[in-house]
């Protein structure tokens, strides 16, 4: 294995989760949080960053401990590490970034249940050195991030007419809105979880039509 952090192999660990092995659109992991927190772009972003942090450090620790962890209790060990990190994030947010912690409310705790984290620990960090494990964690977290941001963008824009809290679309007479269209109505359906599922499905559809590798034979 190459020693360089930016070797071809390592770059592949970052690039693959963006497209070919995207955790959400290809592996269909971490869907639950993608449905729950994509109503607003800001929440999607902060959630993604928290997941990024937890993934990096859990991969690092699990990979460092990989030769010591008994196989029979490895899932529990992973859970302990992930849960501890999530509590750490939560405690720090509450002490230093009180406003952000209020916005995320329950979703910080839900990072524990994000299948991408456990999935990558199980599939990668347990069998690889710390350096590459961290790279793999970053790649997967970013793959998760871009889907969340796209879905969050679409849902916030069409659901509430705003992007990152700034009013963009509105009906006539809406002075706050940048673009006031007479007779325009926000699509309330966008705010409900099923619409997130449809958005993710559309992303998968577009992705598969462009990336023929992903199309299963028959």
């Amino acid at each position: 294995m190459s020693n360089s952090l930016f070797s071809k192999k390592n770059m592949k660990l970052i690039k693959d989760p963006m497209n070919d092995s995207n955790p959400i659109s290809v592996q269909v992991l971490g869907i639950c949080s993608a449905l729950a927190i994509t109503i607003m772009l800001e929440n999607a972003f902060v959630m993604s960053m928290s997941v990024l942090f937890v993934m990096i450090f859990s991969s690092l620790f699990i990979s460092m401990l990989r030769n010591l962890i008994p196989d029979r209790i490895r899932i529990i060990v992973q859970l302990v590490v992930v849960a501890s990190l999530v509590i750490t994030v939560d405690q720090f947010l509450k002490a230093f970034l009180f406003d952000v912690s209020k916005q995320l409310s329950v979703f910080v705790g839900l990072i524990i249940t994000n299948c991408i984290i456990m999935g990558r620990l199980e599939a990668f960090a347990l069998a690889n050195k710390p350096g590459v494990s961290v790279v793999d964690a970053i790649g997967n977290a970013l793959g998760y991030t871009w889907i969340l941001l796209v879905v969050g963008f679409v849902r916030e824009l069409f659901g509430t007419g705003a992007i990152w809290g700034f009013k963009i679309l509105g009906t006539e007479g809406d002075t706050e809105a940048l673009l006031a269209i007479p007779g325009y109505e926000h699509n309330g359906l966008m705010l409900f979880p099923p619409m997130a599922l449809i958005c993710v499905a559309v992303i998968i559809w577009i992705q598969r039509s462009k990336n023929t590798k992903l199309i299963e034979a028959n």
Partner: protein, 245 residues
């Protein structure tokens, strides 16, 4: 390898070490960060009380330091604790009274609850009254600070907050459009013929503009919880002020 990683003794030793280590780490973290977290919560309460009274907006309060907010709070606000019959309870600190805890402990029996009342002094010496209240949302508690004008009847400002309502739905109670409904038009606690009325959150159009505001589409349960809270919570204060006889 000399160690048998799947032996029972190894597994037990490994788990004990791992768990003790994380437990130690997390408890240290929790204990050392607790003072800062509590200070944040108190600071937020002070800024909400001041914001409800119109000292500054919640957004502006974020730019002020904690000491500054504490200073303004101590200068402007005094408080008492009363019971359901409108009598002052001595020896209670209204600021330390946790409205949400108090609500949860006595949700079935409002007559056992303690009620905090904050008085805000305007520049010209007149007063505003800030009433903290709590209720049930969909996922957790919701609470509010409602400021009344010197007539002890007309709503002057409101700040809503919640623990875990859905962003974009129930969490909209913290947004300006919802809260402005209480101040854009005059809302009153007492009806014109002098009976206790409270304020309600209603679906499908406001019929009594003095006592009703529009609900949030898609979050019926949060709206109902807020409505119940606004309906009931003013009662002991109105007795305290001799508005109800």
């Amino acid at each position: 390898m000399a160690l048998n990683k799947n032996s029972t003794s190894y597994i037990i030793t490994f788990s004990v070490i791992l768990v003790s280590f994380t437990a130690l780490l997390l408890s240290t973290l929790s204990v050392s960060l607790k003072p800062m977290q509590q200070e944040n919560i108190k600071n937020e309460k002070r800024s909400f009380l001041l914001a409800a009274a119109g000292q500054f907006s919640v957004k502006e309060s974020k730019k002020k330091s904690k000491d500054e907010i504490k200073q303004i709070y101590n200068d402007k606000i005094s408080s008492v604790v009363i019971n359901y019959k409108g009598e002052i309870i001595d020896g209670e600190d209204a600021f330390e009274l946790d409205v949400v805890k108090e609500f949860k402990a006595t949700s079935k029996s409002p007559e056992d609850r303690k009620y905090a009342l904050f008085t805000y002094k305007n520049e010209d010496g007149s007063e505003k009254y800030i009433i903290p209240m709590a209720g049930n949302g969909l996922w957790g508690p919701v609470w509010a600070y409602v400021a009344l004008k010197a007539d002890k009847n007309t709503i002057d400002g409101v700040i809503f907050d919640h623990k875990s309502e859905t962003p974009g739905l129930g969490a909209e109670i913290t947004k300006a459009w919802f809260q402005n409904q209480f101040t854009d038009e005059k809302k009153q606690v007492m009806s014109e013929d002098g009976n206790y009325q409270g304020v309600s959150v209603v679906k499908g159009g406001v019929k009594k503009p003095m006592h009703e505001v529009d609900a949030i589409a898609g979050s019926t349960i949060t709206s109902k919880g807020v409505s119940k809270m606004l309906n009931e919570s003013f009662y002991p204060y109105m007795i305290f002020w001799d508005k109800i006889k």
